[in-house]
Amino acid sequence: MGNLVLKRLLVAVPSLVGVVIVTFLLTRALPGDPAAYFAGPAATKEAIEQIRVKLGLDQPLIIQFGRYVADLVRGDLGISLTTGQPVISEIRTRLPASAELTLLGLLVSVSIAVPLGIFAATRPGSLIDHMCRVVASAGVSLPVFFTGLMLVYVFYYLLGWAPAPLGRLDIFYSPPPHFTGFYLIDSAIAGNGEVFLASLKQLILPALTLGIFSLAPIARMTRASMLAVLSSDFIRTARASGLSPFTITVTYAFRNAMLPVVTTLGMVFSFLLGANVLVEKVFAWPGIGSFAVEALIASDFAPVQGFVLTMAMMYVALNLMIDILYGLIDPRVRLES
């Protein structure tokens, strides 16, 4: 087992190296004078020169890269021009908001897509099967920001069921005491039912938007995988042995069918992390996505660089976890290493 984790970790290292190099190059590849960009549009010539020396932008590229890596190791991602705060602390504060949203979106997605795919596979040609196929093809065409806006229109403006898309909590409430940064968890820990409900209400529409967005690939993969497994030899044996339909569908078929779905999750996360940025804009969600977008508009580059780096590292870590999870579920992978 430890062997498996180690091997997967080793594979992740080149990805991390690549990520660091690319994010470094991204800012040094700026057309024009990087120092001017970091100093901001309102800087004087002296200020630009100061920044140039301070950030070591007059040094050869290799030295700059060395400094970059050294800073990274120390957790220094630069200072945001617009807020004056270190980028790392902004990211740390805002990350839980994005994480809570993404995880909830994934939960919504999986809880709809997986059963949909299973029912579609076990009842081929039925209404559910057709629905699943429509969802799978149409789902990939829906722009996520459009879905979000339409949901707001229908559920907030027309029906009045959902609260205004103004962030994590209605202004009447104050955030729960900080344990994890996840409002749902923190308010539960503090035993504050009102804040819990209020946070949940704000979360529903954006999570639903993300969920709808990632529904299609998961449903399609679940259906395809389940269909393949159901026509396999060992299911035939299970049927011939007279096992109950539940045992056959769930214990035998489903567990095997989930393996390719877990692998698909890697790709789904790539989409989700990107869609997160768009959803945060629609719902005024104070996460790292909106942080980066605001910085971009203000030509404030350090946060953007920090954002890309953070997202990429999280993505590498997520893929690593998915690989390990797969290894845990599939004994063929686990025992081979």
Partner: protein, 323 residues
């Protein structure tokens, strides 16, 4: 045959709907397996032997339909039974093992648990007892160090061991009939013999009837009490082993036997029997599906084939049989 047979199949016909037409895979298949007897069903690929087994077990492909016939096991017609009746019988009274044993086992579940699943389903055992019983079953099928092996996965075992596991699963609930579909194909010769011995011993020990399907005429010759020969979805001859080889009556059977050098080659390696299997989608299939390649064809071969009673000692579906 005095006592009721373990399995009685009468007039079984099966069709498959495909994109290119309806395939009449089986037509009026009839045979019986007596209690404690071993019946071998032999035929080329495409002759319908596996389809027969799948139809009896009720695990036909969704495109397949049973259009007529009955398959009576212990007084219950399996083809007319309700799903709940079938659920009681399958795995408990009638069991099946397949070729490619490693692929036929759940790849991500330890073999001991797969056996325990069947025990819990059919065997009136408690959750606590099942694992130990599974280990005992593994021991009974000759797997060394069964307690350790019970936790192993199919990919960690050889083909022969996987087949033993399948046998353990099949025999867990002590069925009265075991169907073995090409159980030794793909295994090496020594293992083949060992597996067939195991099946015979277990069957003899419990009085279980066995129906095994094979394209290997020599295997049938060694192991079966009676042999049924199938061609293009028909049972064309059925007799005791000795009778069949001493006095084959259907021209096809004779060709098969004659073309088997020393009776040790499989049907697939035979020198070609003239002609080929007819296309079963044709709407103009003759009554005797062998007639178009038969050297003994006569004008009266165009009528429906003669019917023999199922328990006839030597049944042959031919108007011009050898004598």
């Amino acid at each position: 045959m005095n006592a009721a047979p373990a399995l009685l199949v009468e007039n079984l016909s099966v069709e498959f709907r495909t994109r290119s037409g309806v395939v009449r895979a089986l037509e009026s298949v009839s045979f019986a397996v007596a209690k404690g007897e071993t019946l071998a069903i032999v035929g080329e690929s495409g002759s319908g032997k596996s389809v027969t087994a799948y139809a009896v077990m009720g695990i036909l492909d969704p495109a397949g339909r049973v259009t007529s016939g009955r398959a009576v096991l212990g007084g219950l017609d399996l083809l007319q039974a309700s799903p709940s009746q079938l659920a009681e019988v399958r795995g408990r009274e009638i069991a099946m093992i397949f070729q490619n044993p490693r692929a036929a086992l759940n790849p991500i579940r330890p073999v001991g648990r797969q056996i325990a699943d069947v025990l819990l389903r059919h065997g009136n055992v408690t959750r606590a007892e099942a694992p130990n019983l599974a280990v005992e079953l593994l021991r009974a099928v000759g797997i060394p160090d069964p307690a350790r092996r019970a936790k192993a996965y199919p990919f960690e075992m050889s083909g022969g061991m996987c087949q033993r596991v399948m046998i353990a699963i099949a025999l867990a609930a002590k069925p009265s009939l075991l169907i073995a579909d090409e159980p030794t194909t793909g295994l090496d010769v020594t293992t083949q013999a060992v597996i067939m011995d195991l099946i015979s011993d277990l069957a003899a020990g419990s009085g279980m009837a066995t129906m095994f399907i094979t394209h290997d005429l020599a295997l049938a010759a060694q192991r079966a009490n009676r042999i049924a020969v199938m061609h293009a979805g028909h049972v064309i001859e059925c007799a005791s082993r000795r009778e069949l080889f001493a006095r084959p009556r259907h021209p096809y059977t004779a060709e098969l036997i004659a073309a088997t050098p020393d009776r040790v080659a499989s049907l697939d390696q035979l020198a070609s029997i003239p002609g080929s299997l007819p296309d079963l989608r044709r709407l103009d299939l003759p009554h005797c599906r062998y007639s178009e390649r038969c050297p003994r064809k006569r004008t009266d071969c165009d009528q429906p084939l003669p019917r023999s009673p199922v328990n006839a000692a030597h049944m042959v579906a031919c108007w011009n049989p050898l004598q």
